[in-house]
Structures are given as C-alpha cells and as structure tokens.
C-alpha cells in the first residue's frame, strides 16, 4: 500500500525501494508491478527483510 501511495507522488523515471518484513507484500508487489507495467529492478531478502526496488515507467 505504501508503494502505491509513493508511486502516485513520484515522477516517471524515479526509482523507489520498499523495505518490508511482510512476506505477502514481497509476493504481491512483483505481481502488481507486472500488471500495471512499472519496472521491477530488484527483489531480494536479507535477514527477513524484503528489499524491492521499482522504477516508475508511466
């Protein structure tokens, strides 16, 4: 949800990174990014924290 809100405020081309301990978000975000057509740059887990980096494309 925070990513959706942040993307609304971002400019096309901006990169955003989500840090989340929520496993559900780690699964949902890449699926959602694909559906709406933004670019998934990175998705990794480290010590239970998911790092998801996204570029706004439209």
């Amino acid at each position: 949800m925070e990513l959706i809100a942040a993307l609304k405020l971002a400019e096309v081309g901006d990169e955003l990174e989500v840090l989340s301990t929520d496993k559900g978000s780690a699964n949902d975000i890449p699926e959602w990014i694909n559906k709406v057509g933004h670019q998934l740059l990175e998705c990794r887990e480290e010590d239970g924290v998911h790092y998801i980096r996204v570029r706004k494309t439209r």
Binding site: M1, I4, K8
Partner: protein, 378 residues
C-alpha cells in the same frame, strides 16, 4: 517561558493539548510554560460517527461539540488557521496576520478526502468522509433496489477499517430491507489481499465467503465512467456497477503542501520520536505524518499520549523519556450488531477474534465516550 504551539484541533491536537495541560498544571500556573492550540474551526467533529450517519443510525448533529468545551483550563485556544511555517525563526504565521513564537511546535493538521484526484470518482461515487457525503450515501442506500454495489478503495485513505465496515454494514442493511438476494456486494482492494493488515485480511476473507461477498484484489481505481456505470482499474479490469461506494484517496492539508513540508502533504517524521525529520523541536502527529501506519484517530490518540509525556519531560528535564511504539487500537464493525477489533503496534500484528455483540456495544459506547477520550480522561 517555554512556548508550545499545536497546529490542528482534531483528535491528536486536542488530546495532546489536554494531556500537556494536566501534566504541566504547576508550570502553567507559574507561567513557566504556555500551550497554544490553533485550529481552523470552533467545532470538533467525531469523525468515526460519519459511518453511522451513512446508515441513518446517527445524526450529523451528534458528531459535533464546541472545541472550547473540550479543553482544559490554561490552554490558549484560537480559531486562527496557520498559513505559513517559519521554522528557521521558530514562528508560525496565521490567517489573521498573527505570529506565534514557539519553543516546541506540533503539527497535526490531518488529511482530507480527495476523490477529485480520480476522474469520475467525485461525481459518481458515494463516500462517508464528510457530513454531506455520508448523508448522500444514506439516501443512495435507501433508494437502492438491487444490483451490484461496488466498493473501491483509494490510496492512501483514512481509517483502514472503513472499507470492511461499510461492506459488512451494507450486507446487514440490505438484509434488513429484505433485498439482499437482489444485491451483489463487490469489494475491491488495492493490494493482493482484502486488507493492508494481513491477519485482518485473512479474517475478512472468511467473513466475506460466509456472507457471499465477491471480491477482487490488486484493484486500483483509475477512472469511473459514469455514463456506462463502469470502473476501470490501473490493472486493466473493467467492472460494471449499479451503486458505487468509495473510500476515496486522501491528501495532506493544503497548508502542508503550500509550505513544502512533505510530498502529498505528509511530513517526513521519525516513527519513534515523532520529530519532523531535520527539526528537533518540531513534532508531527496523526494523519499528517508520513509514517507507514494507519491514518486513524486511534493512531493520533496513542501518538499524542507518547508525545505529551515527552514534551512535558522536555519542559521539565530538557530530554525526552519514551518512544512511540506504533500502538493502534481499531474497532471493526462486522455488521449491524457485531464487531471485533484490531490491536497492534510496529512489531506485533493484530489477531482479530470472531465478532461479538459485546464488542459492538463497546463501540457504540465509545461513540459517546470519545468526548471524554478527547478531553484526556479516558
């Protein structure tokens, strides 16, 4: 004299002012401290009551009390909206042309529904975030004779339980009217589950399945085509509706945007100390923060209690004594006569229990007790 200025007379600002006035009674009497509350209104609204207005169960008149009647003696209160923040000089400027100096500033101006940010949403959807909108929603529900009721939720929004509560309450409302068999409730949600809090989403899914509520996730409203009664999502879905209910996207208040204090009107805030980033003597409460936590009265309430303790300690000892742990408690109306709750903090997710009538009564009691809560008595 230490000057504390609080900008915003909603739940957070009012509880904080009262909390401080109780903690600093001796200092107020000795004129070692002043507490000034600046608000845009002489009325205080109990915003959660709007949900009940939308079902004809509370009148809009019940939602208001005079702000001044809620405040402890010693608090300086002005209906004088702030227009500019001069943080380098520890000053705020107001609509009346006054300047207020401060040693500690608290910003709690809240948020506002912004359905206009989505094409067609303001014109064609009903919501419950203003008195006018809630009363209109009630009329729409009364006149509805059957078809698909679609619930669309914008991001971000205030009070995270409202999408679920509206759905549950509409289910019972149409059941009582004897038209439930002619109604399809179609709930949509922006992320890949039914609620931002995972356990609440799981619980809601069980309830929806029992009630026959249809749902679609990963649905972010892009536009409403009122001519064809269709909602288009960012994800490419197109759904027909007969009655459209929205939890509209919210924005921060214009004064925050105009002063460039934070993107979207949300001020970057330390989640533990509630200090504005880069400003040690400026604090932020409630919806106004950019903390990734529920925008809700309960959040503002618990933040205000933590901040009250810290500001009092700063006045007396020159240091803060505690952190805000992310505590929130939300009732969840699960129909017309049953409810549950979600209690959580930054580290501990909620574990919603099966709804009970007793919890619903607690909620109804809280609708009255709020006025004691906001006075700092509860």
């Amino acid at each position: 004299m230490k000057k504390i200025v609080i900008v915003g007379g909603g739940t957070g600002g009012t509880i904080l002012a009262n909390n401080l006035a109780r903690r600093l009674t001796a200092e107020l009497k000795a004129q070692k401290v002043s507490i000034t509350l600046l608000s845009a209104s002489d009325k205080h609204m109990y915003q959660p009551g709007l949900l009940y207005v939308a079902f004809g169960r509370m009148s809009s008149q019940e939602l208001y009390q005079d702000q001044v009647s809620l405040l402890e003696p010693g608090i300086i209160f002005h209906v004088d909206p702030v227009t500019a923040f001069d943080m380098d000089n520890n000053q705020v400027l107001s609509e009346s042309g006054s300047k207020y100096d401060y040693d500690h500033l608290v910003i709690c101006t809240g948020s506002r529904p912004n359905p206009e940010s989505v094409p067609g949403l303001a014109e064609h959807a009903n919501h419950v975030y203003t008195v006018e909108a809630a009363e209109k929603t009630f009329r729409s529900l009364q006149q509805f004779e059957g078809g698909r009721v679609m619930i669309v939720t914008g991001v971000p929004h205030k009070c995270p339980m409202v999408p679920l509560e509206l759905t549950f309450m509409m289910h019972d409302y149409f059941k009582d009217r004897g038209i439930l068999d002619k109604v399809e409730l179609y709930y949509t949600y922006p992320i890949g589950r039914l609620h931002s809090l995972e356990n609440v989403g799981k619980w809601a899914q069980g309830e929806f399945d029992k009630m026959g509520v249809q749902y679609e996730t990963l649905f972010n409203v892009k536009e409403v085509d009122g001519d064809h009664h269709q909602v288009h999502s960012e994800e490419g879905s197109v759904i027909d509706y007969d009655l459209l209910i929205t939890i509209p996207p919210h924005s921060g208040m214009p004064v925050i945007l105009e002063n460039a204090l934070g993107a979207g009107g949300w001020i970057p805030t330390n989640p533990a100390t509630l200090q504005m980033e880069g400003r040690d003597n400026v604090f932020v409460l409630g919806d106004t923060t950019n903390i990734p936590i529920s925008k809700a009265g309960s959040t503002a309430h618990y933040e205000a209690e933590a901040l009250g303790e810290n500001l009092a300690a700063l006045v007396r000892q020159g240091t803060m004594v505690r952190t805000y742990e992310g505590k929130v408690f939300c009732f969840i109306e699960a129909g017309k006569d049953r409810a549950t709750y979600a209690s959580f903090d930054y580290k501990h997710p909620p574990q919603p229990q099966p709804p009970t009538q007793m919890m619903h009564w607690f909620k109804l009691a809280y609708n009255k007790l709020y006025w004691n809560s906001v006075r700092g008595l509860l």
